[in-house]
């Protein structure tokens, strides 16, 4: 093999490795951006909760649990009709999530609920001239508050809190670093190739590689049904998680389609350029 041919082969291998790294960076960056847009984005959580009717469902769920408590505590189901307010649930959830996304691990604040429950209870006792013992009444209120605060808590959030805060801080640098790396590879491929059609061939390889990888993940997510098999005690939270999973799945398919389009575009440019080169020859 001539020296020139060997040099050409080495250059091809280097460009192939560079385009693989570019494809890997595109894939990792896509995953990072999805994480920032969904998991690490408090607004995305709240949006999903709104779109899946979480606050109303959660209020109903808590109300049903309170009805069970009422069976033991001498209160009829009608008493609980107006005790749990979806707006209050939304406010307390927002405060609770604000704390977690900022790395704190405070529980749900049940003060407003306690106030409302106590005043409704006093009103019920007065209107119905009901018998009660102060200690038993207080125990009932404490139990009701516990049901409310436990009902609003999201499983594992207290463990994820620090992780959220750390990732939120690190992720912009990771994305920027990957972006800089990708820009460097794009420039190297562009300026180190004398024939520009080859540059677009490598770009096409990278985008196609990222497209196929994301396609595999998208297909896996869709076949697995998103988050349908997640185990959550709360039906309201389950519906939100499924909705979240569906949104992530859709975002993945959009990204997959995006890379397919870019890969095809690069291929078209490559074909045009190689045709021009052939015509020149």
């Amino acid at each position: 093999m001539s020296k020139k041919q060997t040099k050409k082969n080495i250059r091809n291998v280097v460009f192939c490795v560079l385009s693989f790294i570019l494809a890997l960076f595109l894939f990792v960056n896509s995953v990072c951006m999805l994480s920032v847009a969904f998991f690490l984005n408090e607004n995305a959580w709240i949006d999903q909760m709104n779109s899946s009717n979480y606050f109303t469902d959660k209020a109903d769920e808590i109300k049903n649990k309170l009805v069970f408590l009422g069976n033991a505590g001498g209160l009829p189901p009608e008493f609980f009709e107006n005790v749990v307010d979806p707006i209050q649930v939304a406010n307390d959830t927002q405060t609770y999530m604000d704390a977690y996304f900022n790395g704190r691990t405070a529980g749900v604040d049940g003060t407003a609920f306690k106030r409302k429950f106590s005043s409704e209870l006093d009103r019920y006792i007065t209107e119905n001239n009901a018998k009660y013992d102060d200690n038993n009444k207080e125990y009932l209120v404490d139990n009701a508050v516990l049901i409310y605060t436990n009902g609003l808590e999201i499983p594992l959030f207290y463990k994820l809190s620090e992780l959220f805060a750390e990732l939120k801080g690190v992720m912009p640098f990771v994305i920027a670093g990957l972006g800089a790396g990708m820009a460097a590879i794009v420039l190297v491929l562009f300026f180190c190739n004398k024939w520009k059609h080859r540059t677009f061939k490598y770009y096409c390889y990278s985008c196609a590689g990222a497209f196929l990888s994301l396609l595999a993940v998208s297909i896996y997510m869709s076949v697995a049904g998103g988050l349908k098999n997640i185990v959550l005690e709360s039906r309201a939270l389950y519906d939100t998680a499924v909705s979240f999973g569906t949104s992530i799945s859709i975002a993945l398919w959009i990204l997959t389609a995006f890379f397919l389009i870019i890969a095809l575009l690069m291929y078209v440019i490559y074909s045009n350029k190689i045709r021009k080169v052939s015509a020149t020859d």
């Binding site: 385009s19 890997l24 009901a130 200690n135 196609a208």
Partner: protein, 220 residues
Amino acid sequence: MILPIIFCLGILLITFSVIALTPDSIKSAAGTVFSAAEKDYSSLYENIFVPVNESDVVDTVKNEKGEPVIKAEAVKYPSYGVQFGEVIIKGCGIDCPLFMGDGDIALSNGAGVYYGSFIPGYGGTTLIAGHNNTYFNGLKKAERGQEIIIRTSYGNYKYKIRETAVKDALDTSSYDLSADNENLILYTCYPFDEVGVSSKRLFVYADLIDGMAIEKNTAE
């Protein structure tokens, strides 16, 4: 165009390697978050209770003493949350469905057998809970000598109230789940007809006076 496929395989291989390097504690935690099938959130319950009349013949065999006992195979053992019978105390105006387990759904629809106790016929303690404001409100009228009937699909059991007592909910001497004689304990919150949750419970103790035992050797 083989290169993009190789790239894709390479990326997926790296992704799996990263997942494989994830600490086992995180992987096992993730494993508990997902199950093989969707969770069932239905609040409906299964009902396997088919009343048997006094005259109906249940499959029986003789025990070692030569007494007839219900064949174990003839008993469909209820799983948690299933209605398998009913409790009747005429003197207290109680007539309600009986469930296996004393969870929210059971106690919202009737009375529930504590899962760690026996169902009638197995020769042990049957511990049954109910809410004092709903199905067990009538227990406030419970008196010594009153008859309690538990009807199941495999037979009817009659008990006579021996005593009633108000005890603390955490007082474990209130019941003996390892007793080797067929006995029944009903309990509910105390006091009755008051707003509030207390730590007191009313216990109603009763002894079996009629009802066929279930074959023991193969019984669940």
